[in-house]
Each structure stands twice: as structure tokens, then as C-alpha cells.
């Protein structure tokens, strides 16, 4: 069963002269154990695709299913709960609160969701795997770009989500860090059975993905 499925998705912004058809009849599905990469230039509709997939906005037409359940009827509060429990967002920046240490970012999650998060040994091994176990008492402002992004990934994985949606997660990283993040996404898919969807124009991630899609002018196609 697809963990995340988009059927015949259309998204239109504005009307009459300002009408823009951003997504055109998009069909997409992602399984467990899969690292899906969605490539496209700026303005192609990548971010809109990601926000609809994550339930942050509604499509003009079409249906989004998460773990087989349609989400269009969910209230705003239920969508918050869905994202908190099942979907993790990793963005290009602003992922971490600047006045909380890396460790306190996890405490904040505990304050909101006190069940189903990683236990301390799982968190320790995740931080070790990400190479940031020594940085738990540091504030985001004291970390490099790569360290910040790895801490953001750890923060996103802390709620043990089944789906990880990432928007340009490697945009500000050097090639070594891109390799690390790419390998991490791949291992999360294979070893922890996560469904990973990354939208980006960064071709350096291509080697790590199981499936590669391309969005151009609002249309999506699977690259062979």
C-alpha cells in the first residue's frame, strides 16, 4: 500500500487574468522503503506539490491519501495532529528555534507530543549516526550549515514519522554534506522503512534516490 498517494491533483491560484494553473493532473505515490526525488526548476510547482502532499494546503481538485486515508475532510487541528505524528517536514532553513539548544528542540517536541517519540537510546544512536552527538548543548547559531541541517533532520525524525517531506534540504550544503544527507535519507528509507520525498533542483542527490520524478510547468513525470 502507498504511504502517500496523490490522485489527479490540480492546483489553480487566482482567477481570470491572474489565474495560474500550478499543478496539472498530478499522480504520485510513495511506498515505505523508498527515497523519492522530485526535481524541477524554480517556479515549476515543486513546493506547491510538497505542501499539498503534507496537508498544508488543499488542492483545487484531486485527492490526497495518507496511509490509505483521504485527508481532505480533516479539520485544521486534525491536520496538525497528522503532521505531528506521521509527517516530518525538513526545510532549507528556519528548522530550529534559535533560542533552544539542539537537545531542547527535542524537549519542545516532548512538551507537545509525549508519546511515540524516539526513546533516549534511539535518539542517541540517531545523533551519533548524524555525527552531532557532541553538539546537543549548542545553539543553532553556534553550528555550521551542515550541522544545522543534520540537527533539523534529527528533530524531524524524533517524532518517528512514517513520511519525511523535504524541501531543498541540501541547498546550502557543500558536496560532502550533500553526500551525508543523501546517504542518510537512503538509509532511513531502507533501514527504518520511511517514505522519503525530497523536492529539489539539486542534482547531487540523484545517485541516492530510488525513484526520480520531474516537474516542469506543473506536470509531473517519472524519469526512467
Amino acid at each position: 500500500m502507498s504511504v502517500i498517494e496523490l490522485r489527479n491533483i490540480n492546483k489553480i491560484f487566482g482567477n481570470k487574468i491572474s489565474r495560474v494553473h500550478v499543478l496539472k493532473n498530478i499522480n504520485f505515490s510513495a511506498e515505505n522503503n523508498q527515497f523519492n526525488l522530485v526535481l524541477g526548476p524554480s517556479g515549476s510547482g515543486k513546493s506547491t506539490f510538497l505542501t499539498i502532499a503534507g496537508g498544508l494546503q488543499k488542492p483545487t481538485s484531486g485527492q490526497v491519501n495518507i496511509e490509505g486515508q483521504p485527508i481532505e475532510g480533516l479539520s485544521s487541528k486534525d491536520r496538525d495532529t497528522l503532521r505531528l505524528n506521521k509527517i516530518a517536514f525538513i526545510l532549507q532553513s528556519y528548522n530550529l528555534l534559535p533560542y533552544l539548544t539542539v537537545k531542547e528542540q527535542f524537549v519542545l517536541v516532548d512538551k507537545v507530543k509525549n508519546k511515540g517519540n524516539l526513546d533516549s537510546s534511539s535518539l542517541d544512536s540517531l545523533l551519533k549516526k548524524l555525527g552531532i552527538e557532541e553538539l546537543q548543548e549548542k545553539y543553532p547559531g553556534e553550528l555550521s550549515g551542515g550541522q544545522n541541517q543534520r540537527a533539523a533532520i534529527a528533530r524531524a525524525l524524533y517524532t518517528d514519522p512514517s513520511i519525511i517531506l523535504a524541501d531543498e534540504p541540501t541547498a546550502s550544503l557543500d558536496s560532502d554534506n550533500v553526500k551525508e544527507v543523501g546517504s542518510l535519507f537512503k538509509s532511513l528509507a531502507k533501514e527504518q522503512h520511511k517514505s522519503i520525498v525530497v523536492v529539489t533542483h539539486d542534482l547531487r542527490l540523484v545517485d541516492f534516490a530510488d525513484k526520480i520524478y520531474e516537474i516542469l510547468d506543473g506536470r509531473m513525470k517519472l524519469k526512467e
Binding site: 503534507g54 498544508l56 505524528n85 516530518a88 526545510l91 532553513s93 528556519y94 530550529l96 533552544l100 531542547e104
Partner: protein, 353 residues
């Protein structure tokens, strides 16, 4: 609370400056409230000490004790009980050798009536003759001594201070208690005046003469020269300071929230409910205001300890506490604008950046 405390701890300088602003505003409000209260008390202290409910004045006096003179004939139909008393009031300047002149309010009393009987002495005794007076403690603070002989304006003769009393001020001037006979001698134009007013501790006391009118003590106090204007001025100043504190808190929290809006958008995208962020903002406002109030209260206590007694300030705990509660409410209202921004944050705004 977690987010609120962590942010304040991390951004000490920023929040320290906001707390300093709140301290200054709260301290100013406390001091002005105490000053307003002190001045109000010095206007009415002696009247409050009599615990009167009604006062009868000449109906043409414009509810002004200084302008009221009541004749024996007008009072002939009055039958006074032990809850009623005559008072004769005159504005005087007290002079003595070696001491500075003091503007004062002379209150002539009948020694058989309740006001005279209820005078609380700090030292000395009550007046036994027309040439003896009991004066407010301000005279003592200004160097006057028991047994000292003083004169009033251009009135002939000397009066001897035989006692000091506490909390006897009328229209911000110290009171000189003497006898009604002494007061009568000051009214040289006519000899048939009996008193300036009749006061009563009974709420049913009525003027038994068409030339006289009975007023409630509240109405009489409000008509004291300058009393209402002064209270209104202070009330407006305190209200404006409250509004300023509301704006200061709202503006600072608004700016801080705007700076955090992208982080909050990401948190919202990650499913953190807006309620958590709104509560953090309201807690932050409460922490800032309460911290500011605690420091301002300490400064106010220091002021109360070191301020000279001549400054008419009265530090009334219940009133200052209610002002503090008012400021906390103001702070919480100030947090509503940033709270509204947080509720309206669109998590999509940060995706694609």
C-alpha cells in the same frame, strides 16, 4: 512557559531592556498613585478622622466651608445629638519667634461635642481655654514645641500650643484645633455667628432652616477647592501611563514575534499547534510584566523608606496591588496582537524559501 523562559534566558539583553522599560513605567505609576493618594488624603484627612456622614452649610456658600457662616438664629431650631457638632473654620497663618510661618486651617470646636472629645493626641493635652490650641504634627516637624506661644495673622493675642495631634490636615494644610469662642473672635464683622458648619455622624441629619442646606460628606469632599481637579489630573496621568505600558508591551512583543515568524511557520508545518506558541507569547508577556513589577515594587519600597515626610505620598498596599494587577492585565492585552499574528501564520509561507 518552556519556550517563554528559554527565549528570555537566551536573549537576556533584549528582554532586560524591555523589563527596564516596564520597571520605569510601573515605578512611575506607583509613585504617581502614592502621590495622588497622599495629596487626596491631605485634602480630606481631618474630615475622614471625624467619620461624618452629613454636613450642613449656608446654602449660598457654594458647598465651600470657607464661605459658609451660620448665625445663632439659623441654628435656633437645631437640636444636636451626641453625633453632631459645630465647627468654625478659618484660614490662618501661624507665626512664632524662631519658626517659619505656617499656613493652616483653624477649626474651632465645642469641647462638649464629639469632634473635640475624639481628638487623638500624640503628646500634650486638649485645649482647656480659648487661648489654647492643639495642632497637627506638621508643626512639631517644623520646630514648634509644646507650650510655645504663637499668633495668627493680624489677630491680636497669643495662643499656646498645648497638644499635638496626628493626621489632621484639611486642603493640604495642617489643622489648628481651638475653641469655637476663639473662632468667633476671628469673625469680627458680626457677632451673631455661631459656626461655619454643623457636621453629623448620622446619615439622616437634615438642615432645619431654609437658609441652610445639608450635603453628604462625599459631595462636600468633592467640592473642596482643587480636590476633584487634582484627582482627575492624577487619574488621567495614571490611565495614560497604563495605555503607554500597553503600547510598549504590544509593540515589543509584536516586533519579537515578527522576527520569529519563519521559525513559527516551520513549527506550524511540523504540526506544533498555534495554541502552544500563543501560550508562550502570553507567558512571556506575563513574565516580563511581573518581573518589571517586582523590581518597581522594590524601588517603590526604597522610595517610601527614604522619602522626606514632607512629601505628601501615601503607600497604600491594596491600591498599589490593584494597580499592579491592572498592569498585568494590560500586559496580557498587549500580548493579544502578537497572539493574533501567530494564529494567522501560514506555514506555507516558509516552504520554498
Amino acid at each position: 512557559m518552556f519556550l517563554a523562559l528559554k527565549e528570555i534566558k537566551r536573549e537576556k539583553l533584549r528582554y532586560g531592556l524591555i523589563i527596564s522599560m516596564i520597571v520605569l513605567i510601573a515605578y512611575l505609576i506607583f509613585v504617581l498613585t502614592s502621590l495622588a493618594l497622599g495629596l487626596a488624603q491631605e485634602n480630606t484627612q481631618v474630615i475622614d478622622s471625624w467619620h461624618i456622614k452629613r454636613i450642613v452649610l449656608d446654602k449660598d456658600s457654594d458647598i465651600n466651608l470657607s464661605q459658609s457662616l451660620i448665625t445663632k438664629k439659623e441654628l435656633s431650631t437645631f437640636k444636636l445629638s451626641r453625633k453632631d457638632a459645630y465647627i468654625g473654620q478659618a484660614s490662618i497663618v501661624v507665626k512664632s519667634k524662631g519658626n517659619k510661618k505656617e499656613s493652616a486651617q483653624f477649626i474651632g470646636l465645642d469641647k462638649h461635642q464629639f469632634i473635640f472629645k475624639n481628638i487623638k493626641l500624640l503628646s500634650g493635652r486638649k485645649a482647656a481655654s480659648n487661648r489654647e490650641i492643639v495642632v497637627d504634627e506638621q508643626f512639631k516637624d517644623d520646630g514648634y514645641r509644646l507650650g510655645e506661644k504663637v499668633s495668627f495673622n493680624s489677630f491680636s493675642g497669643k495662643y499656646q500650643i498645648v497638644g499635638f495631634t496626628k493626621g489632621a490636615k484639611l486642603s493640604v494644610a495642617p489643622v489648628v484645633y481651638g475653641t469655637l469662642s476663639a473662632w468667633k473672635k476671628m469673625q469680627s464683622s458680626r457677632s451673631d455667628f455661631k459656626a461655619s458648619a454643623v457636621v453629623s455622624q448620622s446619615s439622616n441629619f437634615k438642615a432645619a432652616n431654609s437658609q441652610l442646606k445639608s450635603y453628604s460628606s462625599g459631595k462636600f469632599i468633592n467640592q473642596l477647592p482643587g480636590y476633584s481637579a487634582q484627582n482627575s489630573t492624577f487619574t488621567f496621568m495614571i490611565a495614560f501611563l497604563m495605555i503607554i505600558s500597553l503600547i510598549v508591551i504590544a509593540v515589543f512583543l509584536y516586533i519579537l514575534t515578527i522576527q520569529k515568524i519563519k521559525n513559527y511557520a516551520v513549527l506550524r508545518a511540523q504540526g506544533i499547534p498555534a495554541k502552544i506558541l500563543v501560550i508562550a507569547t502570553i507567558c512571556q508577556s506575563a513574565i516580563l510584566v511581573v518581573s518589571g513589577l517586582i523590581i518597581a515594587a522594590l524601588l517603590t519600597i526604597l522610595t517610601a523608606v527614604f522619602i522626606p515626610t514632607a512629601v505628601p505620598m501615601s503607600f497604600n498596599l491594596p491600591i498599589l496591588l490593584s494597580v499592579a494587577v491592572g498592569l498585568i492585565i494590560t500586559g496580557l492585552i498587549g500580548a493579544l496582537i502578537p497572539a493574533r499574528i501567530i494564529v494567522r501564520i501560514n506555514p506555507i509561507s516558509v516552504i520554498g524559501e
